[in-house]
Structure formats: C-alpha cells, structure tokens
C-alpha cells in the first residue's frame, strides 16, 4: 500500500506527499469530504510515509518496520474506546466513536498523550475519526490541545460532516477537502477490482457514489434492489397500491440502502423532467425512467424527493421500518 494505490484526489495527494517529503506537518489538520472518498486511507498512508525509514519521494516503502506496524486496530472491548487506541506503533493512535459518540474521556486521554515525547518516530500523530461525533464536552476539551500542542504532536481530524463540528475547532485546523472520486476513474477501478463489465461498473460507481461502498456492495443484490425501486415508482404512478404494499414486505431490512436508491432514481426523474437527460445516474434505465417521468409532473417529483429526504433523516432515530416505508408509499401514491 502506498499513495499510488489510492485513487482520486490528486491535488490532495500532492500536498500530503509534500508533507511527507519535508517530514513537516501542520499541528492540526481536518480532512473533510463525503463518506468513503478515502479520507482515512489517505490519513493512514500519510502517517506511514511520515514514519517510514526508507521513504522515497513521499511514498512509504511498505516493507520497513514502521510501515508494517501502522495499521488500524479496532478493539472489541467497550472500555478501550475511552482511550486513544494505539497501533503496534507507539506514536500513532486513533480515537474512534463508540455508540455514535466520541466520549470526553477519550479526548482527555488524547490530551495527555499529546504531551508525551515520541517513542520511535520523530513525531506523534493522532487521528480522530468521525470527529463530528465528539460530544460538546469532548469538543471543548480538545480546543486547547488543538491550538497549542507540543511541537512533536499532531492531530488529524476526519469528518464527513464538517459543518457539525464546533466553529472554534474549525478555526484551529487547516482543512483539506476531499472531492468525490471521478465516476469514470472509479468505474475502471471497480471493473478491474471486482471483475465486472465496465458498463455495470459505471452504473455502480454512479449510484454508490463512493469507492468503499461500491467495493462492499453485493452486485446482484444491488441490481435486484434497483429493479424493485423502479417497480415502486411504476406502481406509484399507476396508483397500484396493492403491488406497493407487497413490495414493502421485502425491503424493510435494507430500507436505508433502498431509500438511497429511491433518492437517486427520483432525482433522475426530476433531471429528465428538466430536459437534461444526459446528466442522469442510472443511464442504463433511461427509457424506463422516461416512461415514468411522462406520467407525473415536476411538482410531484419534487414532493417525492422531499419525502424521501425526510424519511432518510428520520431513519437515524430508528422508527418502525415497515410502517415508515408504507407511509412513504401512501404519500407518494395519493399525494
């Protein structure tokens, strides 16, 4: 693993390589960007390159002692999340959220750890993953550490929702924003990695929107699910409520993925309605989407988009999935 194995974000890569080459790092960095664009992989690779003993032009050698030791360990014990989680390398630690929050204890431990001198490398680097999940107490506890840490300690915050982070924290960090990986690049990567035809890789890339998800998703299931989504829209314009209720049976387990796909399809319908059909994501379904789009007006599609968005937000607080999806379909069919 080295920087050249990571796809996309060439500009960011260039900056990180320069940091590694000079072995110099700002004391507080924030990596932002959508989920799954590679923020964490880049961060770990940066640490590896910085600590690597035979670093060549900002790239780690991946065979030396330090390179091998730097890995992300995910502990199983609940108590471990209240501390900085160290890898086998003593100068690289991470703070991870547990039960959707980063506890103040972990940040206090981090504060203590930043005050120690490096053990093996020339600096200590700490990563806070999903930094927006810090509690208010945790965020505030981090403020002083972020502003004036000892010169050998560096903190990298990672967050896909930087807008939820305290402004006083943002003002102390240098922010690197990661762009979504280009679809074409991703499709080529996917078709090579997953051994699927380029065409389906393209659809997958556009719908999954990020690399890690596209790699994880079960392809057959994905296409099957998309077929169901299309059924939902068809049944909805036909006011065929019986079919709709039948469909909810199958989907309540994977409703979040299902809603995401619905969102994409509804958005495609809207784009078709605006008359710019070359911008749609589900390119292979264009003709079917067109027939649906002909039967609804723009206002209805906008309401759908809004309803889906609302429901996706509501999903974060664990509603009854069956009832929620039924309710959505009722609203979509009867307005």
């Amino acid at each position: 693993m080295s920087f050249s194995d990571l796809i996309g974000n060439e500009a960011v890569k260039k900056i990180l390589k320069a940091f590694a080459r000079k072995r110099k790092l700002p004391h507080a960095l924030l990596f932002t960007g959508e989920d799954g664009v590679g923020k964490k992989s880049f961060a770990i690779e940066l640490v590896r390159a910085l600590f690597c003993q035979n670093q060549i032009d900002g790239e780690s050698c991946s065979i030396c002692h330090a390179c091998k030791k730097i890995r992300l360990n995910i502990p199983s014990e609940k108590e471990d999340f209240k501390k900085v989680i160290f890898s086998s390398h003593g100068d690289f630690g991470v703070v991870l959220p547990q039960n959707k929050v980063i506890n103040v204890d972990a940040i206090r431990d981090l504060e203590m750890q930043t005050r120690l001198k490096p053990l093996e490398a020339q600096m200590r680097i700490f990563i806070i993953d999903e930094a927006e999940k810090m509690t208010s107490a945790a965020s505030n506890a981090l403020l002083k550490t972020l502003e004036e840490p000892p010169s050998t300690s560096h903190v990298i915050l990672i967050s896909s929702h930087a807008n939820l982070i305290l402004p006083t924290i943002l003002s102390r960090c240098q922010i690197l924003s990661f762009a979504p990986v280009d679809f074409k690049e991703m499709a080529v990567f996917l078709s090579r990695k997953r051994k699927i035809p380029l065409e389906s890789a393209q659809v997958l890339a556009r719908c999954a929107k990020n690399v890690s998800k596209a790699l994880a998703v079960d392809i057959e299931e994905f296409f099957e699910r998309r077929k169901q989504v299309l059924e939902v829209f068809k049944a909805s314009v036909n006011s065929d409520f019986v079919t709709l209720l039948g469909l909810t049976e199958g989907i309540s387990d994977s409703i979040e993925e299902f809603l995401e796909l619905m969102h994409d399809v509804a958005h495609d319908l809207w784009i078709i309605k605006l008359g710019i059909s070359d911008k749609i994501s589900n390119t292979d379904l264009e003709s079917q989407l067109r027939t649906i789009a002909e039967r609804v007006n723009e206002k209805t599609i906008l309401t759908w988009l809004e309803e889906i968005e609302e429901l996706r937000k509501a999903m974060q607080v664990n509603p009854n999935k069956k009832i929620a999806s039924d309710a959505l379909f009722v609203k979509m069919t009867y307005g």
Partner: protein, 511 residues
Amino acid sequence: MSYQAIARKWRPQRFEEVVGQEAITKTLQNTIRSGRIHSAYIFSGPRGVGKTTLARIFAKALNCLKTDKPNPFPCSSEDDACFSCKEIAESRSIDVLEFDAASNTQVEKVRDLIIERVDTVPVRDRYKVFIIDEVHMLSTSSFNALLKTLEEPPPQVVFLMATTEIHRVPATILSRCQKFYFQTISTEKIFQKLKSIAEKENVEIEDEALWEIARAGEGSMRDALTSFDQVISFASTLEKTSKIQIEDVVTTLGRASSEVLRRTINAVAEGNPSEIISIVDEISRKGQNLIVFCHDLLLLIRNLLVVKISDSLIENNAFSSEELKKIGSAFTEKDLIRLFHSLSELQTRLRQAKEPRYQLEVGLVKLIEIRRLTPIEEIIDRLEKLEKLILSSSTEEVKKKSELTQTIEDLLGSDSLSTITSSDLEHVEISSLDSELEEILKFQGDDLKPLKNAPKITVSKDNSIDRSVKIPKPPKDASEEEIRKWVENHPKTALIKSYLGARLIKVESKR
C-alpha cells in the same frame, strides 16, 4: 525542525499589537496605569478575536518586572524581556496559571487547581493570575464552588476568564466580574495584519489574494491566519515560483470562485436549470463545501440588494459595485428579497441534508420558479377587492345570484391568476400579510389551497322557504328567549341564512 502555526507565532505580545479591540485594550491599559485592578475579568466574544491573547498580555502587564508597579507596556518576547514576561509567553510562569476549563470541568479539579492555590501568596511576582480559558464548560458545581473565591479573593489574586459562550456562564459569576465584550474584526484590519505578516515572513502574495483570505476569516483573526497558513503551505507544494494568486487561495480554501457565483446568478436570471445542474456538478466534483457555496451566494444576493439601495455600504468585495449593478439589473428588489429568504432556508436545510447535492440542486432551481411567480402583494390586492365586494353585497342583504357570481368570475378569471400553493408561499414572512391572506383563503373554503380549486361562491335560491307564512309578532314584554325564537323562525332570516350561509349570533331589540 518543528514548525509553528502563524496564528501562534504571531500571537500579539503587547497591547498595541492587538488588532480591532481598541476600546478594550485602552480600558485595560488605563486600569493598569491607574492601579485600579479588579479581582475578576471575563472576556467574551466570537472565536479568534483575541480573548486569550489579551488575557495573557494583561497578565504580563500585571507582573512585568521592568517597572516596580504594573506596566501598561509589558515586554514583548523578542527583545530583552524580563523573566516574568518571557515565562508567561512560554506559558511556564509560576504565578500565572493557565487553566483549561474544558478539560477540567469537575469540581474536584477546580478545588485542587484553583481554590486550594488561591491562598498561597505569589512566589515571585506581584500578582497571582489565574487564566481560565473556555470557562463556559465548567460544571454547575464548579461555578458555584468558585463564587466565594471570586467575590473576595486575597488581594493579590486576579482571575481572567475567557469564553465564546457567555450565556452559559451563570449570572452569579458574571455579576462578580468586569465584563468585556469582544467584537469581530473588520476585514480591512485583518487585511492589514495579514499584509504585515506576509512581509515579515517573506511570502510573496498578491493583495487581491490577501483580501480573499481576510474575507474568508469572517471577522475572526485566527480563522484568517489559519487559512493564510494553509495557503502558504499548500502553495509551496505546487512548487510555484510566482506570487500566490487569488485562484490559489480560492482552490485551497475550497471556496467558490467569483466566476462560478456569477454564472449561478446569471443562470437564475435567465431561468436556465441545466446550467445550474452543471454548476452544482462542477463544484461537488471539486469537493467544495456546498454550504459555503450557498453562503457565498447568499452574500452576493445581499450585496446586490445593498447596491440597489446605496453604493457606499459595500465593503471591499470580490465584485465591484458596477458589476453588482449590472448583475442586479435583472432583478427587482422584491425578487432579491424573495431569493434571499429562499436561499437562507436552503442553507439551514443543507446542514442536515442526507443528500446535500440534490437539496442544493432542487433549491437553486426553485429560485428560478420563484421569479416566475406573481408577487404575493398583487394577489392580496386582488383578493382584497374580492372581499370588499362580497362584504358589501351582504350588507345590502341580497344581491341577485347571477350578478354576484359574474363579478367573482371576472375577478378570478380563468388564466389571469397563477396558482398559489403553500410551498410557494413559504418565502413570504410578513406575518400581517400571512394572516390576512389566510383569512381570505379561509373565506374561499379552504386553507392555502390553490385559489382556482377553491369552491366558487354560489348563491342559490332555496325554494323550500315559504315566505307567505306569517308568524305573530311577540308581545311587547316578551323575554329575550321568545324574541330569539321568533327571529329564528322568521322567513326573512331563513332567506339570509340560505343565501349567505350565515348563522344567528345575537339578537338585539330596538325597543
């Protein structure tokens, strides 16, 4: 070689170096000059405007060893500073204790680190100074434990507290402190500071680029300095030899360039949704923050509006006022106000959006729709006319059915009035208008339903009422109950009821 952030390296060391808080620095200097030193001060204000910095300078001034009393001009760190000032600058002074309230919120820590130590006299210096940063994070019991100490500390103890959220500090604490409210710093002043730092650091950068950084700071010096740091370190990775340009700043800070903003507002003016979709595609592909983009667009619309009112109010901006006028000519003032409302709502929605990109696209395309709508005032005007007509007809008791419906149809027309739906009304926030409109719409038979679909007012002749029936008049001494009954049964009342759908509320006797 360790490297220090610009914001830390150039932290002001003397009162004069603090930018943008003249009133406060003057007051503090005068306090020291006159020797009227209070026991507790609280500094509040937004992030990065100099609270902690001033607290440290104040501590230096109190303990500076250059003079034998507190010195309003403490040593700065470069020249031959006294021990005390040097130590405070390196935050290792034995008598100036900096306490991070956010990591030590518990009452035990407060007791250990503050209350216990208050009673010992200063070791070497004049004053024992406690700097409590982020004081709003202390727990309730910690605050309460501090109360007595704050009120009557030993004579040589000074508390300096700093916070961004003064509303979270209990009133009992506040009433024992002298309060200083820090303001955000003007873009102009941030720019000057950046320029002087750029000169000292030998950074070659265009003035325009510095202005952009200063604007990005939004009144916070530290934000601007952090951005500046970022621009310098990122520009150096590009191995550019020329001066840093405004484009470099825009790309490193992930802000939308003025070009993109111009294209967006033009697309709205021309009603071109496909241009909007491709703009959003472009900025999200670059990984730019969509909320920041929305914010910048909001600022642009605000400036368009301001330029329509007065040129002089525009601060230094990415767009010249001539350009703003040119762009703004496509919009009326009312248009701009509506765009502003709709956009600011979009901004709040974006913050929690699951699919922010879709939200932004839909929100921006909606802006085009908004321009196409008939202004709400006009609609209300028409409705008012309608209302008057109906009301006047009811006072004349009964108008002929055909006449009335005819005029209503005239007023509504079949295509002269565009449909209003509740979502279109969202951008109107004048409550008086709202309630008025609601009243009128209620009269039409439904809340906020499209007017067209509202049931037409039809006045029908009810043949079931027999007017020939005569009911005897009630006697002169009849009770109210009896009169009421008589009125109820009177054929005239029945007529009015059936024509106007009215109901009897009150009966008054003329006698």
